[in-house]
Amino acid sequence: MSDSIQEPGSRRLIMSMAIAGFISGFIIIAIYLLTFDTIKENKARELQQAVFKVLPGATKMQKLHYENNQLVLVHIDGVDDEMIFAGYDEKGQFIGYAIQGAGPGFQDTISLLFGYLSTEKMVIGMEILDSRETPGLGDKIFKDMDFVNEFKGLSIKSDLKAVKKGKKIKETEIDAITGATISSKAVVKIINKAYKKWSPQIPPVGNEPAWVENNTAQKTESQ
């Protein structure tokens, strides 16, 4: 008698799953659309701030994507590994490139951004974007301002090298943090690697990409 109640047909099972799936999909899409703009703005702002930090003086930026053996200006959302950023001052004067790099640190992958001045072959700023280095030791790579400031105006004519504190002789050498030698070396290694990858792809001095009005930021506003 109660069999029909105890064992609902498979149609009812599928129906209830389908209804639940439909409602849940509806809610998820609703929240996605509701938060989409804010999240996009947050991400764009975060990236912009990092770029302005490593390129002192920059107030505007645009994204450059490496495709078909050249750097092209793109106006897309999001960031990928084949992208660098060009910073400009208020008048649209080119300042420098911000290059991303990532690699193994002491604990886990470190990802960073550094500012590069192609005319002088110089690193002009460095910002750690993401890391899980040991608090109190390895995290000095972004908390120790002496270390961070060493990257403001550092020649990269040859490979950078981290040396023991106080032993810096050459202009491409930097003082490692005491107690966080491995993390300091990891940062240097990541910059070297990213520089090797990007230096042949960056256009020769004098051919810097010009500032183009109507960039992404303005586009988002008009949307």
Binding site: P8, L13, S16, M17, I23, S24, I39, N42, E46
Partner: protein, 222 residues
């Protein structure tokens, strides 16, 4: 009316101490340890879990007669995952810095066995009112556990609470506390403390019973 109010209140209170999901039932360990390296992360995680648990308990208890038994677990998971996605996107929009720190552990609320456990053991069998009360109590208990762990780890590991410096520059922080081993050790010691409290209480009750017996004996003899 009074009676049901009392029972509902009981359902809420039990999650905080007697059936505390972390200290007594030892559930939800994964988010518990991973995000408690600072008090603020712990609190945000607690609020997120609160929202997911109360929301799913409400839905499950409200729709319990329409949920077929055979697919109930899948349905619970769909409901929970929907709430978690909502929390995930809201945090990403409102508190991007904290979302970055909690990272993958927000979506992992889905795999918190405490939430699914409450649906199966309680919400699916009780009225909406009791289910919500139970969920509020359980998540409050979870939040208290998260907070105590996060606070202990931040105070000892950084010498601060909610980012405010407590001990001044002379304090040498116990870095190990905010690293993974500190999580295991602190939770182990907190559990030990909880066991000890329970044991004490039990002994106290036994003593009380003995005293009672003796007074009865004395009375009978006298």
């Amino acid at each position: 009316m009074m009676a049901t109010d009392n029972i509902a209140y009981e359902e809420m209170i039990k999650g905080i101490w007697r059936d505390n999901p972390v200290f007594v039932q030892v559930l939800g360990m994964c988010p518990m340890l991973a995000v408690t390296n600072s008090a603020i992360n712990a609190v945000v995680m607690g609020v997120a879990t609160f929202f997911v648990l109360v929301g799913s308990s409400f839905l499950v208890s409200a729709f319990k007669q329409w949920i077929p038994k055979q697919v109930r677990i899948s349905l619970y998971i769909i409901i929970i995952a929907t709430f978690v996605t909502v929390v995930d996107y809201s945090l990403l929009a409102m508190l991007p810095a904290i979302h970055k720190e909690l990272g993958a552990f927000i979506p992992l609320i889905v795999a918190n066995c405490m939430i699914l456990g409450r649906q199966e053991a309680f919400a699916s069998k009780n009225t909406v009112k009791f289910a919500v009360m139970d969920a509020v109590g359980m998540s409050a208990g979870f939040m208290i556990a998260l907070f105590s762990l996060g606070a202990v780890r931040e105070i000892l590991g950084v010498g601060a609470l909610f980012g405010f410096d407590l001990f001044g520059p002379d304090f040498e922080p116990w870095v190990i506390m905010i690293l993974p081993p500190g999580g295991f050790l602190t939770l182990g010691l907190l559990l030990l403390f909880f066991n000890w409290m329970t044991e004490k209480r039990k002994q106290f009750l036994i003593q009380l019973a003995e005293v009672d017996n003796e007074t009865i004996k004395v009375k009978a003899n006298g």
